[in-house]
């Protein structure tokens, strides 16, 4: 047991304890999920970028040209499924969040990106109406943002 603890401490660089436990096969991903289960209710309940930033514990994010949308259409045929791809070229990117200005709740998703994972994610979100979509990046403890205006045309009939 002591030996194991020593190894944990020695090899700790860059990896979280949770990661180590996972790597050692001591806990299953599902259990890791239960332990990692933090869900920032305050942030997901916000209705303005200012409030979201407050809930996330950050200040005003700086506009950044190093955040790029990819595979993200300017017009979405259906707001139920809007593809969003975000790449951050900002060094030391830790997380990427997607926010939709005119949705009932602003924050759609936050992705935490460990070292070794490319700072680029692609997913699909719902949009209540045409709106600015923000890609919010946390890098080296600071926040950066880029916006894209996406128009939503909701086809009415079942065709």
């Amino acid at each position: 047991m002591d030996e194991m603890r020593r190894r944990l401490i020695q090899s700790g660089g860059g990896m979280t304890l949770l990661g180590l436990l996972l790597a050692a096969g001591w806990i299953k991903p599902e259990e890791a999920l239960a332990q990692a289960q933090t869900w920032n209710k305050a942030a997901f309940d916000t209705h303005s970028l200012t409030d979201t930033m407050k809930a996330l514990g950050g200040g005003d994010p700086a506009q950044s040209k190093d955040i790029v949308f990819f595979q993200t259409p300017e017009i979405a045929e259906n707001g139920a499924v809007v593809p969003i791809g975000v790449t951050s070229n900002i060094p030391k990117t830790e997380s990427i969040a997607i926010l939709i200005e005119k949705n009932p709740n602003l924050l759609a998703a936050v992705f935490d990106i460990p070292t070794g994972t490319e700072t680029s994610i692609s997913t699909r979100v719902k949009m209540a109406q045409s709106s600015n979509v923000y890609a919010l990046v946390k890098a080296d403890g600071k926040y950066y943002v880029a916006a894209k205006d996406i128009k939503v045309t909701l086809g009415g009939c079942g065709g």
Binding site: A23, A24, L33, Q37, N105, L107, A108, G116, E118, S122
Partner: protein, 103 residues
């Protein structure tokens, strides 16, 4: 019990691309049923992706992620045959874990 996820993990040079589809209603809590009653929110809140046990992505989701969610990303490393496991948990506490090997 939710349906299995569909996971694809493929090596691309020195990195691995992971694509996953999850079966989930992702109910927003904003909709009403035929009787005018609000349909309660029901959505995935946490996602974690591991490669041979090591976390390569974790996420928190709100109700705005689309029904039957799709997610794609890449991480450095990964070899054919390595294990990729993905788990999600929703706001009702339902969980699901699926695995694949890198192709």
């Amino acid at each position: 019990m939710a349906d299995p996820m569909k996971i694809r993990a493929t090596t691309l040079g020195d990195s691995t691309e992971v694509k996953v589809l999850m079966s989930h209603e992702m109910e927003t809590g904003q909709r009403k049923d035929a009787q005018g009653q609000t349909i309660p929110a029901w959505f995935i809140q946490n996602v974690i992706v591991t490669w041979n046990g090591r976390t390569v992505l974790s996420a928190q989701w709100g109700t705005a992620v689309s029904k039957n969610p799709f997610l794609s990303f890449k991480f450095k490393g990964g070899a054919k045959g390595d294990r990729i496991a993905i788990s999600w948990m929703d706001n009702r506490g339902d969980k699901r874990t699926d695995e694949t090997v890198i192709a």
